[in-house]
Symmetry: C2
């Protein structure tokens, strides 16, 4: 990696006035983004055209920030931390990719290096539109399209993909462009679902030269052979937008009403930061181009839980082994950015109830700020019954409802959508929920195979194949349980006790064992043993049972990446081969392989989860949400049920409505606090 | 099994007028329960005192009912089916347990047999109260309690348990009674949580002789040794009811408003039956003493899916290997009954929105009907975003919400609660949700172990141990996909393709295989292979891709029963050792072992799921709900996303409220159908 001399950079520094920053973790303001790009630009000879990929806060290192955090919560004087910016950029229309760190506090460039071969930047919006435009206007592409004899009004469109790798002449930064058309019967519909009309043509685009390197026919049979493409056979459209449906008319409105308003308090910090208080929870909300919303300094009832939580990346490798489909392996955060792709969320469309919205600010390719309006929404939702017990002797029922706080962002990655939500509840649980929806990435298949199929995909429409693919998410959790940065990862398992004439003659006994993770490593789930991973602070003991303060990680069943360990998919997806990764540093597989000691160290835990998406025809033209949840729950962290103080669920608060008349309701309807749900009729009917 | 002569029974028949029954699957009316018990009583010499355990509908066999069902939906004349009742009863205060079938249509007893040794009936409410009363008044018990030198105002109470088995002198029908006291500082509180005050005394009660067979000290150490019990050391109370909490005051009300009412139509059938129509779903709702709510004839958009669905049973084996705890292994449906234990659900306490309630009718121990008011509640709930896609080229977003219909019952089994819900949604999915809550079954532990613990339980309060235990549920599914009773169970798995220079040189390819289940058997989950079980009708093919109409079963990760295969726990829990059981008949492990051919037969599938509950101190005094879901989803059953016709999510319908002012909302707020959520600001901000 050839690093440019830092010293020589100093000549190019643009003087900048010291910024007063509200908090070191506030996202960059538009002004800061402009300053950073100006400083980088100034480090190059005049008229050097730069393409900026990322301009985002360079967060203070933990060792610098922890003293600030401690002082902040102790109400003591705050140490001064320089404001730094991470910048990734190209010399425009070249392969010369740089990373830099700009110190806005002194206007200096602290680091500025050209990265080596095979290190590529993310795509950006303007670039994608440029690739589309150049591809569709390319003569070779037009000639290929002409061979298909499409209907005369057909409108062709395309989806550029960041090129995956098989190590075969793909060192340069390339795009694979898949070509589609809109419904030829309705070519003026800008929102026609073109995924129902994939064309058997693909182009490879060089991001440096902006040239099309090749135009190829796609394999459309059951094997890798590329045949002379058949001329287009008409198929029906398969639209998802409202005006092409006959909407069901019997779904009556359902609204969420919060007569006293929302229960959360959102406090702006400077122009870009926010803290959030809700039901004993405290956290700071950040946002960047790559990760989207980030949570810092998450506390419950004043007790620290997590230093930082974010979605680290995701990988979507596809099952079709044939070129060029074998290169479909998206990294939606690294290739594009969960912040950059955030939807503009609209009131009453994406959530119910009382909703707050936060904007985000990212950089465009020219280094100018772009405001992402309503990139994050925050609201509460009812979580169903939180806990209930009925005393069968007295018939008295005590019941509470669970309330959840949702911090949500929705990202569009070309065809797909991901609904990403941090969720907190009144039982001191933290959940991370992903809803996968959107449209399948499709490819053409010969009509002769419509009713035969192939083992690596599903026919979802005549002539349309949706290949199987895995969605593998990596959730990064940096814990600080009860204020300690020396945390321990363990896993417990339940195993039968050996038959023993004295202690276990019946063979009914079982015990729970606990195993310490002492080295950085990749670990797997084992539901057959009820394996549960826990993060512990062994210095903080439960006053009643002396167990270490802990949060357990409940991750959904996970099939690790299926790509061969020798493959480029496997090499590139450094997190995708184990459900749990742990180490005391800042990375994943390679770092874990260092076998660092992690016992009671400053660990970070990456939780991998996902789905192997074997498409159903029901997933087309747009798929019903597939919901995944990682849950972190306290284990011997509190002294009793932390939801024990949630007020009883009562009709005078809930205002529910009775449907149908021939019905008896007991005393519970007119209620006294703490005795909501007991009924005069209860005793004879509440049996056992 | 000695069966009494049927013929001789005829002499005892009580003449009864033919009943006009609205539908053969309507639950028994109170009058029918009384008739059945009268007919059984009449078959015995006068003054024979019978104790009735169950009087419930004896459902017509499938081979008799299917022609009725077909005629019903074809609008053809209905075959006449006799109305029959299943009765289980004892000669009171003996071990003589009988099962009988009474034909109400002709007033005859068709079957009446005394069952053999080790076949015991369920407990009933009056019996449990009787066991409590006799135990607490027993002189031996009182003498043992006196030894503990409890505070003078202490009020002692107890929990009777159906005795488990280790094959050691436990052939008789016995109860194990665990003894507790209320908070001695507050002995008049009828709803004091006595599980915080377990006493080291247990009694064994004979249900036939109504005698206490033994009174024993419990082991309270780390081993099986029973020491001289220490005198009582005061510990604080740990109450769950509202008046003993300091409720949080900042949780603001959240109500669900349905201005046009509920979207479902509930139609009474006779005096006890109901059909339910909602969002293309159709089903018939039944109810009985053992299973609680039962669903029959479940259809979507007129297409048959399930002939019958119910919770078959659950098993809760405990981990403590020491006598008498090793006998704690509850079968909450078989031992007690999900219908008999149904809570009286109260408006605004157990659900939000527009709620309908259904009553249930069961028999008491004298053969008289008992009305269980509000045993079932039915309501809709919002399911979050159903699907969404944003076209990044136009910025236009299309988004819908998922709506769910919930048919819920809540059962109290002594200390525990289970919230059992059939859930249907607008994407043609059927979910079965269980929420486990309530209070842990506790036992005393020496204070010297409070901070040391034992490997088979968790200390949840000073001197209080909650033993680990498994909750293993068995969901019974009798499918009739697309009208066929010849269904196939298969499972698919995803496996890497072998490296192959021609087809899979990259090592990125993988395929999905499908395996047929040809013999009745017990099968396990294999998430590492993405194993997915599917029920198929191979005679009904998808018109587009020719795949068989199928529903897949998505079951949560499951640890089978940990009790040794030679143990009585294992022998008794015939379903608990595999996640999936399948056969062409009416039973589980023993039947599966028959290896019947089940390929394209009239199969039944039992789905086992559950949790290994390793108690946290956070689960006391009442546990936050642990939520489990089995999901059945269509796979190539429809031709496209069945939720494609759900109306767009729009502010004019949802009426959400904006929190905070400094905020931009785009065109989406004022909306046109089908274009809810696009914003004027969308384009520049919706990247990639």
């Amino acid at each position: 990696m050839a690093t440019q001399q830092i010293d020589t950079q100093q000549d190019y520094v643009v003087p900048t006035k010291q910024q007063a920053v509200a908090h070191p973790l506030c996202p960059l303001s538009g002004e800061e983004i402009s300053q950073a790009s100006a400083i980088i630009r100034s480090s190059w000879p005049a008229h050097t055209d730069l393409r900026f990929k990322t301009i985002t806060l360079n967060e203070p290192a933990k060792k610098e920030f922890v003293p600030y955090l401690d002082a902040e919560h102790a109400g003591q004087p705050l140490p001064k931390l320089d404001r730094k910016v991470f910048v990734a950029y190209y010399i425009r229309n070249t392969d010369r990719f740089h990373e830099a760190v700009v110190n806005l506090s002194n206007g200096k460039i602290e680091f500025n290096a050209r990265l080596g071969a095979n290190v590529h930047g993310n795509a950006d919006y303007d670039e994608i539109l440029q690739v589309e435009e150049k591809t569709l206007n390319n003569e070779q592409v037009k000639a290929a399209i002409a061979k298909l004899q499409l209907p005369k009004d057909a409108v062709v469109t395309c989806d550029p993909w960041i090129y995956g790798s098989d190590g075969n002449k793909d060192d340069d930064r390339l795009f694979q462009v898949f070509i589609y058309m809109r419904d030829p019967q309705n070519p003026n519909e800008l929102d026609s679902n073109h995924y129902a009309f994939p064309l058997p043509i693909t182009a490879v685009f060089d991001a440096a030269s902006l040239e099309i390197l090749s135009v190829d026919w796609l394999p459309t049979g059951a094997d890798a052979e590329v045949r002379q493409p058949p001329t287009y056979t008409p198929v029906p459209a398969n639209e998802y937008i409202g005006e092409y449906q006959t909407p069901r008319t019997d779904l009556k409105p359902l609204s969420v009403i919060q007569p006293e308003g929302a229960s959360f308090t959102l406090t702006p910090v400077g122009t870009t930061g926010h803290t959030l208080e809700w039901q004993k929870w405290h956290m700071r909300i950040g946002f960047n181009q790559r990760e989207g919303p980030i949570l810092y300094d998450v506390r419950y009832d004043g007790r620290p839980l997590f230093y930082r939580v974010s979605l680290s990346d995701m990988n979507i490798p596809y099952a079709d082994p044939r070129a060029p489909f074998h290169k479909k392996s998206a990294f939606d955060l690294g290739d594009a950015g969960a912040g950059a792709m955030a939807n503009n969320l609209q009131l009453g469309c994406d959530c119910l109830g009382h909703i707050a919205y936060l904007d985000g600010t990212v950089s465009d390719d020219k280094g100018s700020p772009v405001l992402l309006e309503n990139a994050i929404c925050i609201h509460e939702q009812d979580g169903g019954i939180g806990w209930k017990h009925t005393n069968y002797r007295t018939g008295r029922a005590a019941v509470t409802r669970s309330r959840e706080l949702v911090i949500q962002t929705i990202i569009t990655v070309s065809n797909y959508e991901y609904i990403l939500a941090y969720q907190f509840n009144t039982a001191a649980e933290f959940h991370y929920e992903v809803r996968a929806t959107g449209i399948l990435s499709t490819q053409p298949i010969d009509h002769s195979l419509d009713k035969v199929g192939v083992p690596f995909g599903t026919v979802v429409h005549p002539g349309v194949l949706a290949a199987h693919h895995q969605h593998i998410f990596s959730l990064r959790i940096d814990p600080m349980l009860d204020g300690s940065h020396a945390n321990r990862l363990v896993y417990s398992e339940a195993h039968p006790m050996p038959l023993d004439p004295k202690l276990n003659a019946s063979g009914h006994g079982y015990t729970v064992t606990e195993t310490q993770v002492t080295e950085s490593s990749g670990l797997d789930l084992a539901p057959q043993h009820n394996r549960i991973f826990k993060i512990q602070n062994t210095q903080s003991r439960n006053p009643i049972n002396n167990q270490p303060a802990a949060y357990k990680i409940m991750a959904p069943p996970f099939q690790p990446i299926l790509s061969h360990p020798s493959s480029y998919n496997f090499k590139r997806a450094e997190f995708a081969d184990h459900a749990i990764y742990s180490r005391g540093g800042t990375g994943v597989r390679a770092w874990a392989d260092r076998k660092d000691n992690v016992l009671d160290q400053d660990i970070v835990v990456w939780v991998q989860f996902g789905i192997n998406h074997v498409p159903r025809i029901e997933d087309f033209p747009v798929m019903p949400c597939e919901v995944l949840k990682v849950m972190l729950k306290p284990v011997n962290f509190f002294e009793r049920n932390p939801a024990g103080d949630v007020p009883m669920s009562e009709q005078r608060i809930n205002n529910s409505t009775l449907v149908g008349g021939n019905h008896q309701q007991g005393a519970g309807v007119t209620t006294t606090v703490g005795d909501c749900c007991a009924s005069d009729e209860e005793k004879p009917t509440s049996k056992l």
